[in-house]
């Protein structure tokens, strides 16, 4: 435990070095996010990231795993997710086979041996707890707001104690306390008990220059002029009344699409051809057309 902490301290002596490391992996974090990630790793304390879709919440966790050179274990939440999908499950087929095998051999079979590690299927949360190091894993619990409220209660033991309890085996404590990052799109309010255990950071849509820098970083093959045109076009789109204002992810998609079609410069016609990669609703299309495609392109 101490070894790994030393290693973490060496890797992340302060907030600035964390931000620099993130930048090298191609992820540009503002000081707020860098501070949040730093505290999450060094306190250590789970971190709840909130923000609109497409501001880079998931990407932040990936980039963090990248700079720590440690695996990223991702649990995508969805409605109806339960312990069997998140924590562990018994391998029933294998248990049945074991019983048949014991019968065929004429051995006596202990029940406890049927519920041993051999028959356990590790799901993401258990994997994170069981990870052997040398450094803790980054555990990404993605879109936790999609899971049912009851599911949050499953997470408490993991978040507070870094432990998981399996009734048949007992409590498993993490060798290396996982770095837990939860993300939420705020489709519903999370329970206080969950929030209480977490640090909190709200990721805003980045400023224009910051957005340009991020896109440039992510799509190096695009020319600078196109990138800055698209970044401003996205921020213009964000000012009109859309159902889903485009985020950074959409801006990146847009540049990709433009590069693929060989577009060198953004004009009304180019916007027309590629608008589908930014706006994903029929109504939003209409709103953008009404506002004027030339206006969107900035021409």
């Amino acid at each position: 435990m101490t070894e790994s902490n030393d290693a973490l301290e060496d890797r992340l002596p302060d907030v600035d070095s964390l931000a620099r490391d993130l930048e090298q992996t191609g992820y540009l974090a503002d000081p707020g996010l860098a501070t949040a990630l730093f505290c999450a790793v060094r306190l250590p304390q789970p971190l709840l990231l909130e923000g609109e879709a497409g501001v880079g919440k998931t990407q932040a966790a990936k980039a963090l795993a990248g700079i720590l050179d440690t695996p990223l274990i991702r649990l995508q939440c969805f409605e109806g997710i339960d312990a069997a999908e998140a924590l562990y499950e018994w391998n029933y087929a294998r248990q049945l086979l074991g019983i048949r095998l014991a019968e065929a051999r004429g051995d006596g079979l202990e029940e406890s041996s049927l519920f041993s590690r051999d028959y356990l299927v590790e799901r993401p949360l258990l994997q994170a707890v069981e990870h052997r190091g040398p450094r803790p894993v980054v555990l990404l619990i993605d879109e936790v707001d999609r899971a049912d409220e009851e599911f949050e209660a499953f997470l408490f033991e993991l978040l507070a104690e870094s432990a998981v309890t399996i009734p048949e085996i007992g409590t498993l404590r993490a060798h290396h306390r996982p770095i837990v990052i939860l993300t939420s799109n705020r489709t519903r309010d999370l329970h206080d008990a969950l929030k209480r255990r977490c640090l909190y950071h709200w990721i805003d849509y980045p400023t224009l220059e910051h957005a340009t820098a991020i896109v440039r970083r992510r799509v190096p093959e695009a020319n600078d002029r196109l990138v800055s045109q698209i970044a401003s076009a996205v921020s213009r789109l964000r000012t009109i009344d859309l159902q889903k204002p485009p985020g950074i992810a959409e801006a990146i998609d847009w540049v990709h699409a433009a590069v693929l079609l060989g577009i060198q410069e953004l004009d009304a016609e180019a916007v027309q051809r590629t608008l589908g990669s930014v706006l994903k609703y029929r109504e939003d299309h209409d709103v953008a057309v009404e506002a004027g495609l030339a206006w969107v392109s900035g021409a």
């Binding site: 907030v15 707020g32 730093f38 505290c39 306190l43 977490c198 709200w202």
Partner: protein, 405 residues
């Protein structure tokens, strides 16, 4: 766990700083738990912030639990740390660049009066930047003692001009205010020596003793019942200095008079149960939680309409004394306020409007909502200090006895 980069700041001072800041934030309506204050202090030690923006982010990450709390945090942080300029730098080197990320002018929507009072309430922070936190604590303690010895002075002081310590004292004063339930005439007749009606039954029974002659007459009069009091307080941004004090008053009223208590900013929240069950801090946390638009604008008309529709006309307001605490700054349609007040006036026995801003000499009820409400208000009071609160309580008491006029 001292990190190698951290300055030789005594830990106790940091703890005091974190606790004081957390306290301030809590008072502004962000439910900050001690657990989070500890986390904040730990993170400050760990990251060793050198500039105000760095400290800003550490606090924001460790102390908040929701997006909607960010505006309040920004404001409190600005108020609290602007005086310190560079908290860590000061203890080590000369005063450095005042790198405040927060442009007070554009961020704080509050009027300049509040800003000035913010400055005057912490003379220590603005005076000498080299003063260490220990000195602060001493001076604060002194001022606290001074305040305690002059509760007379405090009694007439406007709540919005009080420091947090003075407010804490004031809350104790407020909790001790005598709450005498207003009375109303009950339906039943009770025997009473000074009654105005003859109690025939008792008179006849007494007449047995005097040979059948009704020498001793007995009288009856209507019994008295406590009259219901409903308190509705505005907790929007403009009312912030007063909201907390009024919560204490409400708590007393709910507990001893069985009053109903509501608060609103843009939505109405019933607080009766929270106040009856827990302390004011608990209730305050509940308000902050159920009012994500805390410190935002005010929709008095919508809140009052909702009160009437969901509570008032079902019986809560009927024949009651309704006290509304608000400065009348309506962001919605003032006409709606007028209409709601007209309905309320017909339901309630007596409507008291408390506007703490009306204590100012230059006050005129020009705020749209205020002007629309005034014709339907029976009693208009200021309630900006403890003295004024006593007037309010007297008005409530008298209103119970007065017949509708």
């Amino acid at each position: 766990m001292p990190s190698p980069a951290s300055p030789p700041t005594p830990q106790a001072d940091l703890a005091a700083l974190a606790a004081a800041f957390g306290e301030r934030l809590h008072a502004a309506g962000v439910p900050v738990t001690p657990e989070r204050m500890i986390r904040f202090a730990e993170a400050v030690l760990l990251a060793g912030p050198r500039t105000i923006p760095e400290a800003y982010w550490i606090g924001r990450v460790t102390l908040l639990t929701g997006h909607f709390q960010i505006p309040v945090y920004d404001r409190v942080f600005d108020e609290y740390f602007r005086g310190y300029v560079d908290l860590v730098e000061d203890t080590r080197t000369s005063p450095s660049q005042p790198a405040s990320p927060l442009d007070a002018g554009e961020r704080a929507p509050r009027d300049t009066g509040a800003q000035q009072s913010g400055a005057s309430r912490s003379p220590i922070t603005s005076a000498t930047p080299g003063l260490d936190a220990r000195g602060d604590a001493d001076t604060e303690e002194m001022s606290l003692l001074a305040a305690a010895s002059t509760s007379e002075r405090l009694a007439t002081r406007d709540f919005s001009e009080c420091s947090p310590e003075e407010l804490a004292l004031l809350r104790q004063l407020v909790e001790r205010l005598p709450l005498i339930p207003p009375r109303r005439r009950g339906r039943r007749l009770r025997r009473n020596a000074r009654g105005d009606r003859l109690d025939v039954r008792a008179t006849l029974r007494r007449a047995y003793r005097t040979g059948g002659d009704p020498v001793h007459r007995a009288h009856r009069r209507h019994s008295e019942r406590p009259r219901r009091v409903v308190l509705i307080a505005d907790v929007s941004g403009s009312m912030e200095p007063y909201a907390r004090v009024y919560l204490h008053l409400m708590r007393g009223a709910v507990r001893s008079l069985g009053s109903e208590a509501f608060v609103f900013a843009t939505r109405l929240t019933r607080l009766t149960r929270h106040l009856a069950a827990g302390g004011p801090d608990y209730a305050y946390a509940k308000v902050a939680e159920s009012t994500p638009d805390w410190a935002g604008g005010t929709r008095i008309g919508a809140a009052l309409t909702r009160f009437l529709d969901e509570h008032g006309r079902r019986g809560v307001a009927r024949g009651a004394i309704v006290v509304i605490v608000s400065d009348g700054w309506e962001i919605g349609d003032p006409g709606e306020v007028g209409e709601a007040m007209r309905r309320l006036g017909r339901l309630a026995h007596h409507v008291i409007w408390v506007n703490p801003r009306s204590a100012a000499a230059e006050f005129q009820p020009l705020a749209g909502g205020m002007a629309a409400a005034l014709p339907h208000v029976d009693t208009f009071l200021s309630g900006h200090s403890v003295r004024a609160l006593e007037e309010l309580l007297a008005a409530i008491r008298e209103a119970g006895e007065r017949r509708r006029g």
